[in-house]
Symmetry: C2
Subunit: 299 residues, 2 copies
């Protein structure tokens, strides 16, 4: 089954202590769409400016991403510039130029509206709402977020939580949202806000699923070198929903394996700048790492 992905489509200028790469293809929807495309057909919803490089459109198409929902608007593409510290974990934003994103209103082509799997990748909750408003009875809705929306759009986010099935956020966001230091307790509190399934991402430490069936702890794929972690969380949710859309069977089982697949795609993402590594891998390479992860946690 197919997956609809809405989120940011951006140009990322990324600086690490060792290298600098300007205007890479980035944004939550770009990473998530490419990650999901390994498993299922993907329909993209987003906006870019007239400056958006044609080669990036070609890249989406090469991955089989449907671009009928990608608006090309007068103005500049959303541009983010950031710099990582030596630990490749802490980062600071150098520049945020919203460009055409400032006035973006997602409009879904008719053929998108019955897509069974919906990923509301990181974007303003009001826009995530707007996409859901246009959907006709999706089978499963996954939403991601970021600390910014907890700070400036909390009400919109809280109403969104009542409309979705799976909520994905990182550990510091879970703490901020619930004012609870312990992530297990934080996850339980988030269920009360709506989502049946809560996934707390912990970066290199993996992720935790809290569900009616209990807890599941997913390891991160151990990497001895991180080139650029930008988009790892988006790749994780993209891989997750792509895998879910490709499977029948009980949702909880699929969610667990989906997190493993998401972790693996995220690991590839970290091994190159922007999408440079992710777009070079194959499904077979993903399966190989899934097999390694199975071995790595077996006792």
């Amino acid at each position: 089954m197919s997956v609809l992905v809405v989120g940011s489509t951006a140009l990322d200028s990324i600086k690490t202590p060792w290298r600098e790469n300007p205007r890479l293809l980035g944004g939550s929807a770009s990473h998530a769409a490419v990650a999901a495309s390994f498993f299922a057909p993907v329909k993209l919803v987003g906006v870019v400016g007239e400056d958006f490089p044609r080669r990036y459109l070609a890249l989406y198409r090469r991955e089989g991403v449907d671009l009928a929902g990608l608006q090309i608007a007068a103005g500049k593409t959303f541009h983010w510039a950031g710099e990582y510290e030596v630990n490749m974990h802490n980062r600071r934003t150098l520049k945020t130029e919203l460009g055409v994103f400032e006035s973006f209103t997602p409009e879904l082509p008719e053929k998108y509206r019955r897509t069974p799997f919906v990923l509301l990748a990181n974007i303003a909750p009001a826009l995530q709402h707007r996409v859901l408003d246009q959907m006709r009875r999706p089978k499963l809705i996954v939403a991601d977020t970021m600390d910014l929306w907890l700070n400036i759009a909390l009400e919109d986010l809280l109403t969104l939580l009542r409309r979705i099935d799976v909520f994905v956020l990182n550990d510091s966001e879970a703490r901020q949202l619930t004012k609870e230091n312990n992530v297990i307790r934080a996850a339980k509190k988030i269920h009360r806000l709506g989502p049946k399934y809560v996934i707390v991402k912990k970066g290199e430490h993996g992720a935790i699923l809290s569900s009616p069936g209990g807890l599941f702890v997913s390891p991160a794929f151990p990497l001895s070198e991180v080139v650029d972690p930008t988009g790892a969380g988006d790749s994780f949710v993209g891989g997750l929903i792509g895998y879910l859309a490709s499977r029948n069977g009980p949702i909880e089982t699929n969610l667990k394996r989906g997190m493993i697949y998401g972790s693996v795609v995220a690991s590839f993402c970290c091994e190159g700048f922007g999408l440079s590594r992710t777009t070079k891998i194959t499904r077979a390479a993903i399966e190989k790492r899934v097999g390694e992860l199975e071995k790595i946690v077996r006792f």
Copy 2:
């Protein structure tokens, strides 16, 4: 088979945002010995002062810990006082009174010297050396450490690393020792310093084993409440070596399961002040949590 444990035997005064408990039984050897005692007979090496409460000696004995190697010296027992922040992770030392520990020289009773499994729990590397000097061909040597020794006794620690089989340290110590941010790369560097097996502890995020057979990622048992994490790392290594001493078969397989058992004992340790919770559990309670951990990581 039996386990020799050397380390600190102390009185801990522990303050959390919610409670304060003075002069609890603590120290690396106390936590490790009690943890190991669930699986194998334990011989303790350490020193306490004349002020050491008799009820704590009775507690060791109740757990079946052999005290022939515990010196009772003129003076005061080592006393540590510390305070945890609200996140129950960051802590600061309020007081360190070495007392009889200042002039401690481990002397092993003759019957201790052929103990097959040796745990050099956290203590000055010179004392860890001194214990090894007195041992006759142990089967397996596990050593733990802390940042203090990296700062003030690095040379002793480096020579120790060439004498041991399994080195256990936490992630920040691994980074400090190797000047390497990535823990996977740090572990690989530590092998070159001597130990065939390197275990990097990551607290609530579990632990990683690096061995000739590859990597193993052990989850921490998810806790929704941490009362006092003091001694969790010591409980982990104690449970680990106790389990190893109780099993035949290939060391790598046993190390993996040993880490799981260590994580479980550590989880109980965190649920009470000092040793209050650990000393109340049974082997059956441990097995139950091991079973839950198996379920929690299965996909």
